[in-house]
């Protein structure tokens, strides 16, 4: 079966996020003083062949642990969509 996968990579809680902090400092200059706790991550989309949603989920989680994310500083949220 063919699955579309969306992986949200975000900085781990407790790990400083310089991109988020820089954006947070810039927002008030545009009048957005009400914002806070800005965190920047990334989204990876891919397609995968697997026998089931669970199998696809487990494959992609393995990819995340071994390559797509650095578990020391990043968390991954994997969403599998059947197509």
């Amino acid at each position: 079966m063919h699955f579309e996968v969306r992986i949200e990579v975000s900085p781990r809680d407790g790990i400083a996020n310089p991109e988020g902090s820089t954006i947070e400092r810039a927002l008030p200059a545009l009048g957005f003083e009400m914002t806070g706790n800005v965190r920047v991550g990334k989204v990876i989309r891919l397609q995968v062949e697997a026998d089931s949603v669970d199998a696809a989920q487990s494959l992609v989680e393995d990819m995340c642990n071994r390559f797509l994310t650095n578990p020391v500083i990043e968390d991954a949220l994997v969403e599998v969509l059947e197509t």
């Binding site: 400083a16 310089p18 797509l68 020391v72 500083i73």
Partner: protein, 219 residues
């Protein structure tokens, strides 16, 4: 000095010739090790130099750790062989799991290129011979992702096991506890963001890297 050093080149590495030149100037011998060749050519020590290995795509060092040479570098390191990662090389060593922690973007999101003072925190490693704890030296930095981060447990271990090799005296990048370089438990694998090979001639503004490379060449 008969020390032969292998300097790893990935696609995107750009400090291999500076490193080779510094080693040769200081009496060692050095040659390039191509990343796709798993052979370390019986060298006595390995440097992973600076640059942008595999374009730094995904994360710095993330793709480089899968290059065929890295399995040999890991085996060499686990066997006690001296391995020095400079800048991008430090990032590669953390991604490969040969050193703990990770290097993320500098606080302030600026690429930094400056002379920086660093202090020896531990000399029980391949760079420490001839130096004393507390020695302050000037070595240039040249990086965007040099902000060392580490989970609290691993950080505590680094502190208690004497694995912090260098701290910045004036932290330029937000690095946790001002860390500029660390080593593994045995002291034979060192990663540092500053570039000692660029501080081996008065013409370059500092000769303070000389002692580090000389120590490495006798490790």
């Amino acid at each position: 000095m008969s020390h032969r050093v292998g300097v790893v080149r990935f696609p995107g590495t750009n400090c291999e010739f500076d490193t080779i030149d510094a080693i040769r100037t200081l009496g060692g011998d050095a040659e390039v090790l191509w990343h796709a060749d798993p052979s370390l050519k019986k060298v006595d020590a390995v440097v992973i130099p600076g640059g942008f290995a595999h374009g730094d795509y995904l994360r710095c060092g993330a793709i480089a750790r899968f290059s065929p040479v890295m399995e040999s570098v890991a085996a060499f390191a686990l066997n006690g062989g001296p391995v020095l990662g400079i800048c991008n090389g430090f990032q590669v060593l953390t991604e490969a799991g040969l050193l703990p922690g990770a290097l993320q973007k500098n606080v302030g999101m600026k690429f930094l290129c400056s002379m920086q003072q660093i202090e020896f925190v531990s000399t029980e490693n391949i760079l420490g011979k001839g130096s004393t704890v507390g020695d302050c030296i000037n070595i240039p930095i040249n990086h965007f992702e040099g902000n060392f981060v580490c989970p609290p447990e691993a950080l505590a271990e680094l502190e208690t096991q004497g694995q912090i090799v260098f701290r910045y005296t004036d932290n330029p990048n937000g690095s946790t506890r001002d860390i500029a370089g660390i080593c593994n438990k045995d002291g034979n694998v060192v990663g540092m963001m500053p570039h000692p090979e660029r501080a081996t001639s008065a013409l370059l503004g500092s000769t303070d890297g000389t002692a580090l490379i000389q120590s490495f060449l006798t490790a």
